[in-house]
């Protein structure tokens, strides 16, 4: 038995080590030494991120159960950086009196969902994939309900777990039918036999909606705003960036690797969903007053844009997708970071609370503005590049009308992003949010995000590096 081949799974192992050591530390540390928990965790995680950022050659473990390609390193690194930023932003929150005790759990749960995503990404088999998916969502629900004394958090947790379970049931049912029609659960084998008979199509649809749920595409998105609103802001950002980022990558990989023979069919599905997601989410976002809810809809529409990269099914699309996720991560996390700082101190999340923020908190406002512009796809911020590449990838495959619809929607999305900017910079407020001082880790996170937004677009090597390892049909 070649257990040693397991050691090839560097990322997973090092993450597991981080998790276990933190768990052990949490269990055995004294009250006093718990002070060092977060710095230790951050250092360990940074270390983990750094040592795993170099892509290696492709390999398989456990007979194809685990299938590594170099691109995954980039995706995982992006997820790592995102998680790191979130952990930095959560530092403050976890130091609060009420939450101090749950520090260890927070880290453990977060990292275990991350591990789940790792496996989901690298899975070469539906079983691995399914376990990964569940690992990424079941502990997540406890994270959503992390503020357990908060009604909203509790409600969000319940909604999340119920929706997730429902989705995974349907997805599981779909998988069973896929198994029933192909006789195998290994991706590479399915690809050859999955030709798109009626039953296979039905199985495919049942299966894939589980992923749509994770990505929260319309009409599988309805849980998103409620859960985003209810959960603690850092968790929300984790949900909207990391969880979604992993899911879109997996969706692309699956569609391209496992279902290449029904490309026209899934392109049709994605076409419809992209239009629906972008449009409906934008329409719903317009009226939101709660910023977290607002960002939920914004992220749904962003997911719709991501579909444009997936729909192309090309290497270009793949690279654009990963790049988009990278940029989206920086931008969205910057916004959520600002939100979390403010919500942490003042419990204010309404857009009207942000009126006149610039007068009192110029730096936060600028970070927020840059991030929102990036989300809206305004140059010179990275969001512009990522959107352009995605549209480019779709147009290359001839999806002119789809791109046009998406572009029209960028106008609506710009509208609501500008609403926030308007609130911060233009609207006057007699009692604006008082001057806030964010703690050091949060500051670092803002610096990382801002730098990311500024340079990832202008310096092409990020994209070019990603493009080296991208693959398509």
């Amino acid at each position: 038995m070649a257990y040693s081949s397991f050691l090839q799974m560097n990322e997973e192992f090092s993450l597991l080590i981080v998790m276990i050591s933190l768990l052990v530390f949490d269990i055995f540390a004294t009250e006093k030494s718990m002070r060092y928990f977060q710095p230790l965790a951050l250092v360990l995680f940074t270390l983990h991120t750094v040592i795993n950022c170099i892509p290696r050659d492709a390999f398989e473990v456990a007979g194809g159960m685990f299938h590594y390609v170099p691109m995954q390193t980039y995706v995982k690194t992006i997820l790592n950086i995102g998680t790191l930023i979130i952990l930095l932003q959560a530092h403050q929150y976890l130091n609060d009196e009420a939450n101090r005790i749950k520090k260890g759990e927070f880290y453990f749960l977060t990292l275990s969902t991350l591990l789940g995503m790792y496996f989901m990404i690298s899975a070469g088999n539906f079983l691995m994939f399914f376990i990964g998916l569940e690992t990424a969502s079941i502990p997540m629900s406890t994270l959503v309900a992390f503020n357990k004394t908060d009604h909203k958090a509790a409600e969000a947790g319940a909604k999340y777990i119920l929706s997730a379970v429902f989705a995974s049931s349907i997805s599981l049912f779909g998988m069973s039918l896929i198994y029933g029609t192909t006789g195998t659960l290994y991706f590479n084998e399915i690809a050859t036999v999955f030709t798109g008979t009626s039953l296979q199509m039905m199985a495919f649809v049942f299966f894939v909606v589980g992923l749509f749920f994770k990505i929260s595409l319309v009409p599988f998105h309805l849980w998103t705003p409620d859960v985003y609103e209810g959960s603690q802001t850092n968790i929300t950002s984790y949900l909207s960036v990391i969880s979604k980022g992993a899911a879109v990558f997996v969706l692309f990989t699956l569609l391209v690797k496992v279902f290449p023979k029904i490309i026209t069919e899934w392109q049709h599905i994605l076409y419809g969903l992209a239009v629906l997601s972008i449009t409906v989410a934008n329409l719903f976002a317009i009226r939101q007053q709660n910023l977290k809810r607002f960002l939920a809809f914004s992220s749904i529409s962003q997911a719709g844009y991501i579909l444009l990269a997936i729909i192309s099914g090309t290497a270009l699309g793949m690279a654009s997708l990963v790049y988009f996720v990278l940029v989206y991560m920086f931008s969205n996390l910057a916004v959520f970071g600002v939100l979390s700082v403010i919500e942490q101190r003042t419990k204010k999340v309404l857009m009207s609370d942000y009126n006149g923020l610039y007068q009192t908190n110029p730096k936060l406002s600028i970070v927020m503005m840059i991030a929102l512009f990036s989300l809206a796809g305004i140059p010179p911020f990275a969001g512009f590049f990522s959107k352009f590449f995605i549209f480019s990838a779709a147009v290359q495959q001839g999806f002119y009308v789809l791109v046009f619809i998406a572009l029209l929607n960028t106008i609506i999305s710009l509208f609501y992003y500008l609403l926030v900017i308007k609130a911060m910079f233009i609207d006057v407020n007699d009692a604006p949010i008082e001057k806030l001082e964010s703690d050091f880790p949060a500051k670092i996170s803002f610096v990382i995000c801002t730098l990311g937004i500024l340079i990832v677009g202008l310096i092409s090597s990020f994209y070019n590096q990603i493009a080296v390892f991208s693959f398509g049909i």
Partner: protein, 636 residues
């Protein structure tokens, strides 16, 4: 003759200096600059006139000199606007006229405008006008002419609106500009047509008589009228606008809101004859390619002349009387051109042209004199209204005499200059058509009548009570009067036929004794009539006014042309076009865009309930979504 460039440039320089320095200069200095520059260029233009008329005659034909010619902007391989100086008899004549009158007006204004706020500005504008007008007359090509044409229009606008705090002056300046601008549109389109077919702007080429230039116009017509007629007609519209031909004359009477010396310079002597000059400049083209337009010009000129003369008979504002008289006299010039032919060694084909130019020259002198005289009167009594005057001959002898001379000249009494020029026009007209000739003679009679009505009303008649006794103008104002009067007296004896003719070769003037006698008789009769009616305070005018109340009222109201103008601008352009368009823009186009936003937001709010907060509804949508996708994939 390179120095002619100085004639053009010095006023520009003076404008720039005065304009930039403005109130930093003392008024006296500004006046001195203006006058001295004008003095220099007047001298220069006299010199150039002498030099030209004595030295540049080759085989009996005056040369066309182009001492300066630069390309200013190039449109394509054929078309380019050049700036240059074209010297030929008419431009030389115009140089002389313009510089002379301008100099007089400049001197006159030293006193007349003394103490006015913006004295420096006034001189700057005068310089600008002089520059533009000179540039216009020496233009080598039609586009250069258009450029200066516009500049002249603007100077006129600025000068009419000199008293900018006075609403009527502002309105008048605006009206003058817009009406002439409207005419310029015709001019511009005419130029565009002309240049399109002939591939040139250059006068020398256009007038060269080379038929190949116009080859491409052959057979092209629109609505049964040949394209050249359209073109030249459109160009004439431009001239008609500047020269206040009916129905574009409405701006000129209002333009009297400007300072009186300005009226003398611009609205009597120089700018208003630009239209005549334009036709004269393109005369060969008109004559060869659009003779029908030339005839139309004659009839329009005649009608305008008559129309204006009738109105002049009943106006009470002395400057307006003079304005209408100007319109009428320009009508004469137009008639002269309209009935003219080219050449004239034998027969009289070129008579009209020559006469017209001659009349232009003499008219400039005596009309400037009249205006300056009127200015002198106004200066004395501080009013424009005839009723406020009367019996001024005792107080203002010089003005009286010079004014009388001018009146005699315009009435066509021998030996004053007007007699010669007008008489030749009449002679030419009779040659063309006896009916037209008769009409013109009648108008000449009317002219004599209203001029003397004016004269008697001002200097004779019952004395009006004045707040302070009117006094004669000082020397700076009197000198120009005297000078111009002198010119008026002698100008008739200038050998004009030798100098300025349609084909630039000598034309021997034969005074037609019958026409001359008849016209003098008519003039004398008219003067007598006027003397009877107005020399003493009498009831006759009033009786006449009541007897012919209909026509009298119409004439006093200038035949309601101004009302039509107001109707068109206010009611039609503003209320029926602009306001609806503005409304449409705000309430249809803009509202459409706004409503897109409103509808989007409305939809957003209406779909609130879709997100009900119920997790089971979420699952329901999820399930239905899945089933629908599956169904579509399988069954569609």
């Amino acid at each position: 003759m390179q120095y002619t460039l100085l004639i053009i440039l010095l006023p520009l320089l003076s404008f720039i200096v005065l304009g930039l320095m403005d109130s930093k200069l003392k008024p006296k200095v500004a006046g001195a600059i203006g006058v001295s520059v004008l003095g220099i260029i007047t001298l220069l233009s006299y010199i150039s006139a002498f030099e030209y008329f004595y030295l540049h005659k080759i085989e009996g034909v005056y040369e066309k000199l182009v001492p300066l010619h630069i390309e200013w902007i190039r449109f394509n391989e054929f078309l380019h606007i050049d700036l240059g100086i074209l010297l030929d008899p008419i431009s030389i004549m115009m140089l002389v006229v313009i510089t002379t009158v301008s100099l007089m007006v400049n001197i006159y204004s030293l006193e007349y405008m003394k103490g006015e706020k913006g004295f420096q500005r006034y001189y700057a504008f005068l310089s600008l006008f002089t520059f533009s007008m000179l540039g216009l007359v020496v233009a080598t090509n039609i586009f250069q002419m258009y450029i200066f044409w516009e500049l002249v229009g603007v100077s006129s606008y600025l000068l009419i609106g000199f008293y900018y705090t006075k609403p009527s002056a502002v309105a008048a300046s605006k009206k003058a500009f817009i009406v002439t601008r409207f005419a310029d549109l015709g001019f511009l389109i005419g130029i565009l047509f002309l240049s399109f077919y002939t591939k040139t702007f250059d006068f020398n080429i256009l007038n060269s008589g080379d038929a190949s230039i116009f080859a491409s116009t052959a057979g092209v017509s629109f609505m049964g009228i040949s394209v050249m007629s359209w073109t030249m007609g459109l160009i004439f519209i431009g001239g008609a606008g500047k020269s206040a031909m009916f129905p574009l004359h409405i701006w000129l009477p209002d333009a009297m809101e400007g300072p009186t010396p300005v009226s003398a310079l611009i609205h009597a002597a120089t700018m208003v004859v630009a239209g005549v000059f334009l036709v004269a400049r393109l005369f060969p083209v008109y004559h060869t390619y659009a003779p029908d337009v030339l005839h139309v010009i004659a009839y329009i000129g005649a009608f305008t002349s008559l129309f204006a003369a009738v109105i002049a008979c009943v106006q009470t504002d002395i400057k307006r009387v003079l304005a209408f008289s100007t319109i009428s006299q320009i009508g004469f010039m137009m008639v002269g051109l309209g009935v003219s032919g080219i050449g004239g060694h034998e027969g009289h084909e070129g008579l009209g042209y020559m006469a017209s130019m001659f009349h232009l020259f003499t008219h400039a002198m005596f009309k400037a004199l009249l205006f300056l005289g009127a200015g002198s009167v106004i200066h004395a009594v501080h009013s424009n209204e005839m009723n406020h005057m009367g019996g001024l001959r005792k107080y203002m002898p010089i003005t009286n005499i010079t004014f009388l001379i001018a009146c005699l000249a315009i009435a066509g009494i021998f030996p004053f200059s007007g007699f010669f020029s007008k008489d030749e026009i009449l002679a030419a007209t009779f040659q063309f058509s006896p009916y037209l000739g008769a009409t013109m003679s009648f108008i000449a009679g009317l002219t004599a009548f209203y001029m003397f009505r004016l004269y008697f009303n001002i200097f004779w008649g019952k004395e009006h009570k004045h707040e302070h006794t009117p006094h004669e103008s000082p020397f700076t104002m009197a000198f120009p009067l005297v000078f111009l009067a002198a010119v008026t007296v002698v100008a008739g004896f200038l050998p004009f036929g030798k100098l300025v003719t349609a084909d630039r070769s000598e034309y021997i003037i034969h005074l037609d004794p019958i026409v001359a006698t008849v016209s003098i008789i008519i003039a004398v009769l008219s003067i007598t009539l006027a003397a009877l009616m107005y020399m003493k305070e009498k009831e006759t005018p009033k009786q006449l006014a009541t007897t012919f109340s209909g026509i009298f009222k119409m004439a006093s109201n200038r035949f309601y042309i101004d009302e039509v103008y107001i109707f068109i601008t206010k009611k039609i352009i503003f209320n029926l076009v602009s306001t609806p368009i503005a409304w449409f823009d705000r309430n249809v186009i803009d509202a459409t865009i706004n409503n897109i936003g409103v509808v989007t937001q409305w939809t957003s709010h209406k779909t609130k309930r879709f997100q009900s907060g119920q997790v089971q509804q979420y699952a329901y949508v999820f399930l239905v979504g899945t089933l629908i996708i599956a169904a579509i994939m399988l069954f569609v």
